[in-house]
């Protein structure tokens, strides 16, 4: 199944502080490549870390970027890249 891409609308949702569920499934293909990233968001680092762990364990090849914090919306976020090896 092809993964769902994060759209500009998704990004806007995050900017407005809404919770966004994981939006990717396991990647396809056999060569090393970086697919369109997924953004996970949460209202605390603990909640975000929990989401990240859950997402990575469910999606082989998923690697996390750095935790970010939006001081206006007070939302923590992290970018997950799905990488096929």
């Amino acid at each position: 199944m092809a993964q769902k891409k994060v759209t500009e609308e998704d990004t806007q949702e995050q900017a407005q502080g809404q919770t966004s569920a994981p939006k990717a499934n396991a990647p396809e293909g056999s060569h090393s490549e970086v697919k369109t990233p997924v953004i996970l968001i949460a209202s605390s680092t603990e909640e975000l870390n929990s989401k990240v762990e859950e997402f990575i364990s469910a999606n082989p090849g998923a690697v996390a970027g750095c935790i970010g914090y939006d001081q206006m919306t007070r939302i923590y976020s992290i970018r997950i890249d799905i990488i096929n090896n």
Partner: protein
Amino acid sequence: MPNLKGQNFRVFIDDGEHRKVVAQSTNCTVNYTANIEDASHKDITGMAALPSIVSKGCTIQVDSLDVSDIGAILTKIKTGTPFDLIWEETSTTDNQTPVVTDTSLLPRHAKAYLNDATFTFNDRENSAKNLQFTITGAIDDLADQNPLTVITPSINFTKGQYVRLFLGYGVLGASAVIAAGKSLSLHTSVSLQESTTKDTTGNWQVQTPTGISYDISTSALMRSGETITSTVAGYTVNDLVELYEADEVLNWKIANVGGDNNRTASSTIVSGRAIVTSLQLNGPNRQDATYNATLNGVGDYTVGA
């Protein structure tokens, strides 16, 4: 005619499907260079040089406060494939939409290797990345091969204290955090070999990646031991000195952290093995004693866990 402001001269990356501006960029520099040889000879009187162009190249530097894509960038570096870069004038409306008029700066495109990348995570500061690309092959005007994706402006930053360096050796993995850490940076370098031959048309330099190396630099306060109680062990300067003296190959990881004292590792961003190649102990009068350490990567790094 108004001056072109720096925010309206930007670098884009085309991922093969879309082209996007380098988000949260703070600076960019494009350096065109020409290598010359002196073609003066005995038939020409006087002492003046007669330079002629041997080859041309270009490097592009981009600085940004967006480090969320560190995993993607480190992976791309490992694959040894070039990026598609575009640099051009952008609209004052959103600083992202290209402007193409008779008088605007013409868009340019080239394939380029990311031959130098530094990610910096300093305590309390917004983290940053500094990227330097070297183009391979010709610069052309094929800037709009794929549609532009405009990025929603964001003030989402990574504070440096939420990304930390963990070390360990042997079966312990990388389980201990650098105690009282102040700064951290990961620097990767790709060596390039100029590989034009007579089969190569034009005089643009063609580059081939030949190797990857990386180093990690960190600084922290010197302490004679742990001063906090934590379930996560901390590495002190003593530990690093001993590891340096023992020529120990360390396990390391850079991870997102949370919890008490920002010591609980969550997702691993990148990990690998390294040796301590530099230790500097500093004792400024009346101020906190500090140390700086540099670790050089041994073998490949692993993106993610």
